[in-house]
């Protein structure tokens, strides 16, 4: 049975939880209490991940740390449609990698602001918020023009990819770090679209969207 080492309030674990839900992959979760228990710093966990971070995936001996690595593995191995991480398309793989890099910057800025404001983790809070707004501005422009071309996701091609899942958590939780999304209407619409993906799951801090069908 696949094991996910995770923590309920972890924004880094969330993209993995999202993909596991969307691909309906059976797994068990071993909760590692980051706060206040600092269980990630215990010897047994450092043995699994010397960087003392969650999430970690153990798929029958394949052990991966870092959310993006886990996303790539799960998509490559378990996505029968091969749309979350289409290994056959070099341009798409490049685009996904670019936006995974962008998502990482969002974690370092908006994610750091959230940890600072909620759990008092030391950071340069002004730099974190300014950095997050700069990224959100770039993202809003990108998504707006994507919409104008009939595209709904970070990368072209008509399907969401793991890049969307990687970017979503720091964005949807941005208000916890004092970062409002009011000035980014295209980002707000994209967040609704992510929430409506089949198999979407919430985490504390995230509201479900209403359905977008019927009438």
């Amino acid at each position: 049975m696949m094991i996910l080492y995770d923590y309920a309030l972890s924004a880094n674990g969330y993209p993995v939880r999202l993909l596991l839900g969307m691909l309906a992959i059976a797994h068990s979760t071993h909760f590692v209490e980051l706060y206040p228990g600092r269980e990630n710093h215990t010897a047994w966990f450092r043995n699994i991940n010397p960087l003392a971070e969650v999430p970690v995936l153990d798929d029958d001996g394949v052990i991966l740390c870092h959310p993006q690595a886990i996303l790539i593995y799960l998509a490559a191995r378990y996505d029968a449609q091969q749309s979350w991480y289409p290994a056959s398309s070099a341009p798409l793989l490049g685009a996904i990698a670019q936006w995974l890099g962008f998502a990482h910057k969002l974690s370092e800025t908006a994610g750091a602001a959230r940890l600072h404001d909620s759990l008092f983790v030391a950071t340069d809070i002004d730099a974190a918020r300014t950095g997050a707004h700069r990224l959100l501005r770039v993202l809003d422009e990108h998504l707006w023009f994507a919409e104008q071309s009939g595209q709904n996701w970070l990368c072209p091609g008509g399907h969401p990819t793991i890049a969307d899942l990687a970017a979503f958590p720091p964005i949807i939780l941005s208000e916890e770090g004092g970062i409002s999304r009011q000035e980014y209407p295209a980002v707000r619409r994209w967040c609704d679209r992510v929430k409506r993906l089949p198999g979407f799951t919430i985490m504390p801090g995230v509201f479900p969207a209403g359905p977008a069908w019927g009438g």
């Binding site: 619409r189 509201f207 969207a209 009438g215």
Partner: protein
């Protein structure tokens, strides 16, 4: 333009900002607004706080007929803005006084216009515009609307530009191209003005 700002029409969103079952978060002259289109096409512009305990309606759920607040599930009806259902007391009709403050709404030229108090006349009257111009991307600027309006006067853009004052320190530049360019030129026109107004924004923000 003459008249007090409170009684003037301003664009607060573009029509394309209101896709199916979305709630748009707008700001006008320090007033937060929740803007949503019902399934029957009617556009509601409401004060952005649930009357119960003040939670923003812009995070609520638009189910096509009602807006549901995330906190206690209170529901408010399309058009009337009245509360229709209070789950904590499911067998009682909510008091009629529980009705959201609404703001006027006109959808014209691909923009959604509103005001803090209903002005006389129509938005952008006196301008001869095509009914279906090309609506440019709205550019949020963290500089006062007066500063941005003055900076725009120096531009001969070929666009009809409106400046929406969101609060004392910010605004949104909303432009139209009338008549709309041919389809083949649409994207490059959008890019061109996006880049132009973004550059103006960067200059205004550095000075602010």
């Amino acid at each position: 333009m003459s008249g007090a700002p409170d009684v003037m029409w301003y664009p607060v969103a573009a029509s394309h900002d209101l896709p199916f079952r979305h709630v748009f978060h707008a700001r006008l002259l320090d007033q937060e607004l929740a803007v949503w289109r019902a399934d029957d096409g009617f556009i509601n512009i409401w004060q952005n706080r649930c009357l119960h305990r003040g939670v923003r309606l812009s995070i609520g759920i638009n189910d096509g007929r009602e807006l549901k607040c995330q906190y206690h599930g209170w529901r408010y009806a399309n058009r009337t803005a009245g509360c229709t259902y209070i789950p904590a007391h499911p067998d009682r009709a909510p008091a009629r006084t529980i009705t959201n403050r609404v703001f006027p709404c006109v959808e014209r030229y691909g923009l959604i216009w509103s005001a803090l108090e209903t002005p006389e006349g129509e938005p952008a009257s006196g301008l001869s515009l095509d009914e279906n111009p090309l609506v440019l991307r709205g550019i949020a600027v963290r500089a006062p609307s007066g500063t941005v309006s003055r900076a725009l006067q120096d531009f001969h853009t070929g666009a009809t530009v409106f400046v929406q004052p969101t609060d004392r320190a910010g605004c949104v530049i909303r432009g139209l191209i009338s008549p709309a360019p041919e389809a083949a030129k649409r994207l490059e026109t959008l890019r061109h003005y996006n880049d132009m107004f973004s550059a103006l924004r960067d200059t205004a923000e550095q000075a602010a």
